[in-house]
């Protein structure tokens, strides 16, 4: 009898330990809040920008010494490593070119890289370390959830932040020092809605959202609004969570609603397996999504199933514009091959924009550099012309729809902001 009771006690204790591990260890901090009293909402259903940017409370640092330090936060490890690697390479390319041309005011530029480890909290710590190291501006990140955290740090420190691929719209509200070189989900969602309605001839679309990603929640929301405004119907929305691997139960639910297309707003890490399982379950309707699909890994994890899917992207390496071709040849010379994701080009643009602003700035103080970035007009980026003057940090840029093929992503269609109305 006694022995048995002891065994039970053990079982209960072990269980408690396990439960605690699973709750603490697996908790994803992305939905845990914005890390401050910021106006950005972390996972609410209302995701569009209020258009009100917080004014800075501090003046920020200025360049001391003979070097200009620029920080970059990027995922050097984890799921988002393909994006992180490309943004580092792109930014380094820009910095090297600027240094080769003599730097800024005779000062050389140095790029300091912090690892976000594909995780918002680690990203925040990396940004804090960069600020402590004395950077005059910060670049990054690609993931909206991580950028949300970084933006709090740069807001408190009063240094400019240029996000590389963070498309969630309300990020720009965090502070008047926030800028980005990519379009926002308020544009990307409607682009895919128009494409689905007009080109794919879809009327009853189901959505799959990654409930743990602020990016995915925001994009699904903006797609839903735009698609319904066109007269389409959203027949179902299934919410999975990042790092899940088995989706059969979601897929059965979704299939019973008979969608004629599926919009997947998550990252390529989950989209590949989902689409592969979707096809296995016998659902053969078109699939499409946002720029979270953008990685050549999508093709290896999605296999044959993902071929024929469409997603929204920032630029395409087949474009003939001079900026694109110059960038690609510089990339090839330094790293060989082509960037695997568009974050190479966006990282290059973000770094160039920062350097350009430092050149145009009236002084080497963070405050003046922010003002210089805010007055950018028609900056010739690889990902298109970037104008930030009067835009509240969000550039107005064209977006491309690309098609997934076995060998890569092929340009399908381009939309400018004016075309959407």
């Amino acid at each position: 009898m006694v022995k048995r009771t002891i065994n039970q006690t053990w079982a209960v204790l072990a269980l408690a330990a396990i439960a605690a591990c699973s709750l603490v260890g697996c908790k994803e901090p992305e939905t845990a809040g914005t890390g401050g009293e910021g106006t950005a909402k972390s996972s609410g259903s209302e995701t569009s920008s209020t258009g009100v940017r917080r004014a800075l409370k501090v003046d920020g640092p200025e360049v001391k010494g003979d070097k200009i330090l620029i920080g970059l936060v990027a995922a050097q490890n984890g799921d988002q490593k393909p994006w992180g690697d490309d943004s580092v390479k792109g930014a380094q390319l820009a910095v090297d070119a600027a240094n080769a041309a003599g730097g800024v005011n005779g000062k050389q530029i140095q790029l300091l890289v912090g690892d976000s480890n594909s995780d918002p909290v680690a990203g925040k710590n990396a940004a804090q370390k960069l600020v402590n190291d004395g950077v005059i501006g910060v670049l990054g990140e690609v993931a909206s959830g991580t950028t949300q955290q970084i933006a709090q740090v740069t807001y408190d420190a009063g240094v400019p932040l240029i996000a590389i691929g963070a498309t969630r719209t309300d990020l720009a509200d965090i502070g008047s020092n926030f800028f980005r070189v990519c379009y926002t989900d308020d544009f990307q969602g409607p682009v895919m809605a128009k494409f689905a309605y007009d080109d794919l001839n879809l009327r009853n679309v189901a959505i799959m959202t990654d409930a743990k990603l602020p990016y995915s929640v925001g994009l699904s929301d903006s797609f839903r609004k735009a698609f319904e405004a066109r007269g389409g119907k959203i027949v179902d929305e299934q919410k999975y969570q990042q790092k899940e691997t088995q989706f059969s139960s979601y897929i059965s639910n979704l299939k019973s609603k008979n969608p004629d297309g599926v919009f997947l707003s998550g990252y390529f890490t989950e989209v590949g397996p989902i689409v592969s399982q979707l096809r296995q379950a016998g659902l053969s309707v078109p699939v499409f999504g946002g720029d979270g699909w953008d990685s050549s890994e999508l093709i290896s994890s999605g296999g044959e199933a993902i071929v024929g899917g469409f997603f929204c992207n920032h630029y395409n390496s087949k474009e003939t514009r001079k900026e694109v071709q110059d960038f690609l040849s510089a990339w090839k010379q330094k790293y060989g091959g082509e960037p695997g994701t568009t974050m190479g080009a966006l990282g290059f643009d973000a770094a160039n924009l920062m350097i350009d602003a430092i050149k145009r700035s009236t002084s080497l103080k963070a405050k003046d550099i922010i003002a210089a970035i805010d007055s950018t007009e028609n900056f010739p980026g690889v990902s298109g012309s970037i104008t930030l003057k009067g835009q509240g940090g969000n550039p107005s840029k064209p977006a491309l729809v690309v098609k997934v093929t076995k060998d890569g992503f092929v340009f399908e269609k381009s939309y400018s902001p004016e075309e959407l109305n």
Binding site: G25, T245, S249, N258, Q277
Partner: protein, 378 residues
Amino acid sequence: MAGLDLSILPQQLVNGLLLGSIYALIALGYTMVYGVLRLINFAHGEVFMLGAYAALFTSWALGFGPESRGQPPQSSALYLVIMLLVSMGACALIGALIELLAYRPMRNQPRIASLITAIGVSLFIQYAGGLFLPQSPPPAISEAVSPYRGVMTAVLKPPPADLAATIDEIRAREQAAKSLAEAAKAENKPEAKGLEEEYRSIQRDLRAKVGEADSQTVRITVPHGQLIMLVTTLVLMAVLRHIVLKTKTGRAMRAVSHDFDSAALMGVNVGRVVTLTFIIGSALAGAGAMMYATVLRTPLSPFLGVTPGIKAFVAAVLGGIGNIPGAVLGGLLMGVVETLVVWAGFSGFKDAVAFVVLIIVLLFRPGGLLGSSKVEKV
């Protein structure tokens, strides 16, 4: 939140059973080790993870690697068997090593020492794996390995006949409209735009009708691969049952499980029995891992084993830890409960509900569903 759609309930139950069969395979390892050593082998989930990587490396060695941009070899059932055996063998070896290096020195220490060692081994393998195993981006086993990529569909209730006829009629009209529109477009006629619009409108009608017919059909779709997975799981369980109940080794295991010291006094080689238990339990995890990675095409990471490990552990406790049929029952139940929670539209609570079920069962049956002092433990 979606309402309850009864027409997909059969499909969801099948989904749950398929998922649960993997949990059951892992749970067997927990329950066997616990039965023999009264030790919860927290590193079991990591053995599972290493098994998945063993399958990945085998598939690469067979020519399905990520670099081979050229034509991969023809898929074959033989490759799957090789991968299964390699994965099981690797796991058996790793399980035996873990027992030898980590648990055996702790054998005569208080039980809490073994427990903490187990947690240590688990963390060690996870983070050592992070250093040496390919993980970012997460690799997945190529789908080209498996020749079983079709699906099997059982229709429980066909759509109404008149609807089927309507669909056929619309489909014919759609085809006609399509060829008209294409012809007009090819000849650049002015009415091409109108014809195109007409075709697209018929296409939408067709989709709507097909959807309507679909929603009135009750069917179960099972990919062939998953069916094979289920059969393999059942065969392995039958083999395990045979070993435990019908062989001399099995008798020794049961004896050790019953009373460690007395069994030793009766001449049972306890050390060998414990090693064998780890080997068998780990090999089952290896089989589960290979199928998890190949059939379900799960992207791999060093933390792959954490969630299935926890779920399988809960399954083992749910069924009555130390009890073999209990582990299987618990695993299947966990799979079904998890699936039904998603079916009901509460996907966010998926993992929490599993624990709630566990707490409820333990409140009423503290020994687990099938656990009682009467049942022989292994």
